[in-house]
Structures are given as structure tokens and as C-alpha cells.
């Protein structure tokens, strides 16, 4: 009855929750054969979404290097997060060889991005969603020269954050 419900009211604060965690860490300690970064696919993970307000916190951390010859110069690498194949965030980073001595110059890139995917992956506005929609995120790379490569580490994480009563 109405009076009973009111007297037994429970106050539930609106709260964000991390309700699903997916990740792909293909390399965590250095591998023997380096992977060139020109047009490279580095990592992939899939997460379930079932609400328009679901957000996905994406993080990626990549260690990479350029093997410079005996010349000073700059080489660049790009790291991109894609959602179902569409680029949504990227970082461009360079390494510099300061002198005409051959050297491997190492760097570490980190991407952080918060995506709100459901409105983007469901084509018709106002569609009724029943159950989960799977969304796949990939970490890809490209480079300015073919001596840019990685022996790891490569880490990609997805955290679904829901706002629910």
C-alpha cells in the first residue's frame, strides 16, 4: 500500500559502478622478435553494453622504439583506439636521436579515452535494446619509418562504468 511503501522508503544514492572489465595484454615482458609498427594491429578486446548511458573507460600503454642508423633525426609513431573499426582516439609521439651515432631510442605512449558507445553503434535512434550489445575496441599503430617497432609491453583495458540506482 502507498503508506507502507513510503514509510519503508529506502534511499539509494545514484552511484557509478565499474560493472565489467575486459583487457588484452599480448606482451608484458620483452619479446625476442620486434613487431614493426607500420599498419600494425596491437591488441583487441570486446565488452558488453546494454544502456545508453554506459561509458567505457579505455586505457592503453605501449612501449616502442626506433632503431636509428648513424644519423641524428626524428621518428614518429601513432597509436589509435578504434571502436568496431572506427578510429575514436589517437596519440602521436616521436623519438629523437640526438647525434650521428646509431641507437635504439625507446618511448612509452599512453592513451586514456572515455567512450559512450551505445548511441554510436545502434543505427536507429529510439531503438529498443534487449540484452547486451557487444562492442569491440582495437589498438592499432602506424609509423613514419619502417624501423619503428615494439618488443612490448602492450596493454589495452576496457572498463564499463554504469550509472544506476
Amino acid at each position: 500500500m502507498t503508506q507502507n511503501s513510503q514509510s519503508r522508503g529506502i534511499v539509494i544514492p545514484i552511484q557509478d559502478r565499474l560493472t565489467e572489465f575486459q583487457f588484452n595484454e599480448p606482451i608484458s615482458t620483452p619479446i625476442a622478435d620486434s613487431i614493426p609498427l607500420v599498419n600494425a594491429n596491437l591488441a583487441e578486446a570486446t565488452i558488453n553494453i546494454n544502456d545508453n548511458t554506459d561509458r567505457v573507460l579505455i586505457t592503453a600503454t605501449v612501449g616502442w622504439f626506433n632503431a636509428f642508423e648513424e644519423a641524428a633525426g626524428v621518428a614518429a609513431a601513432t597509436f589509435t583506439i578504434n571502436r568496431n573499426g572506427i578510429p575514436i582516439a589517437s596519440v602521436v609521439q616521436t623519438v629523437a636521436n640526438p647525434s650521428a651515432t646509431a641507437a635504439n631510442i625507446f618511448n612509452v605512449a599512453r592513451i586514456i579515452f572515455v567512450d559512450q558507445p551505445l548511441p554510436e553503434v545502434i543505427p536507429a535512434p529510439g531503438s529498443f535494446i534487449h540484452g547486451n550489445v557487444q562492442v569491440t575496441y582495437t589498438l592499432t599503430a602506424d609509423a613514419s619509418v619502417d624501423t619503428v617497432a615494439t618488443t612490448g609491453p602492450i596493454t589495452l583495458t576496457l572498463s564499463r562504468i554504469e550509472r544506476k540506482l
Binding site: M1, S5, F21, P30, S99, N104, I105, F106
Partner: protein, 163 residues
């Protein structure tokens, strides 16, 4: 009553939060706060920067580790120095990354850099739970010119398995 049942059903459908524990060690929060700075060892030695203890309470839990570190290299002339950074679980190396710091000037220069480490540990537990595990961040440089004056942050987020 139907209205009450609808309201109660919301409780059953509400997804559970998986982040159930968060530990951090942050011995320094600002650049220059470690004075004198910590000297980073050269091979074969490693310098331990910090460690964090996590009590794992389920075998299917994951530990999401993030480390962020400020480093400084003091150069006399043009040159490079390469720093190797590792995360350990107990005495086992579970993650390793590499960063080069360089200076292009013939005159002496001090160059600062940042390194971030990110790792998910799936095998934190091999036996009975609960168990307390220690994660350590350490570094080694290939020349004795690297120090850290801060900041140093190592966090460990314990996540239950997905439903």
C-alpha cells in the same frame, strides 16, 4: 502489488560493482620533492622505487596495476641513456618497459622524463585465499646519470571477475 514487484526487480537486475579494493603507494607526489633524489642503479643492480601490498580474496580476481614515475638525467654532452623499469610480484618479474632519455646539446643539460607502466595480473593467487601479495616497481639505467626526485605512484585495483 505490481508496483512493488517492479521496484524490487530493479535490485535483482542491478549490476554489481567489480572494483572491490584499491591500494596505492605514492611516496612522492611532486617533482623535486625527493631531496636528495634517488639514484637509479646500473646493471646488474636495480633500484626499488616503491611497493604496494594487496590482499587478494578470490582466485578469479584480477589486479590492475598502474605505475607513474618522474626521472631526470644529467648529461655532460650530447648523449642518450636508457632506463629499464620492471614490476615484480614478490620476486617474479611480471612486466618490463624501457625508456630512453636524450640530450642534443653539447653543453651540460638536465632532462626530465615520465614513464607509465600498466599491467593486469591474473595469477596473483596460486593457493588458499586470502593471500597478501607485494608488487614492486624498480628501475635500472645503463649509465649512472639518472635519478628520481619524484613523483612516484604505484596503484593496484582489485577487480572481481565479470558476471
Amino acid at each position: 502489488m505490481p508496483e512493488n514487484i517492479q521496484g524490487q526487480l530493479n535490485f535483482f537486475q542491478r549490476a554489481k560493482g567489480l572494483l572491490t579494493d584499491f591500494q596505492v603507494s605514492e611516496p612522492a607526489s611532486t617533482f623535486g620533492s625527493i631531496n636528495p633524489p634517488i639514484e637509479i642503479a646500473v646493471a646488474p643492480g636495480f633500484t626499488t622505487l616503491t611497493s604496494v601490498n594487496v590482499t587478494i580474496n578470490s582466485q578469479t580476481n584480477r589486479v590492475w596495476l598502474n605505475g607513474t614515475l618522474g626521472l631526470t638525467a644529467a648529461f655532460d654532452a650530447v648523449g642518450v641513456v636508457t632506463v629499464t623499469l620492471q614490476l615484480l610480484r614478490g620476486t617474479t618479474i611480471i612486466y618490463q618497459t624501457t625508456k630512453t632519455i636524450s640530450s642534443p646539446t653539447v653543453v651540460p643539460a638536465t632532462v626530465s622524463e615520465i614513464v607509465h607502466l600498466e599491467h593486469i595480473d591474473l595469477t596473483a593467487v596460486s593457493g588458499e585465499v586470502p593471500v597478501t601479495t607485494t608488487y614492486t616497481l624498480r628501475a635500472q639505467a645503463d649509465a649512472a646519470i639518472v635519478t628520481s626526485s619524484g613523483p612516484i605512484t604505484l596503484s593496484a585495483a582489485q577487480l572481481e571477475r565479470n558476471p
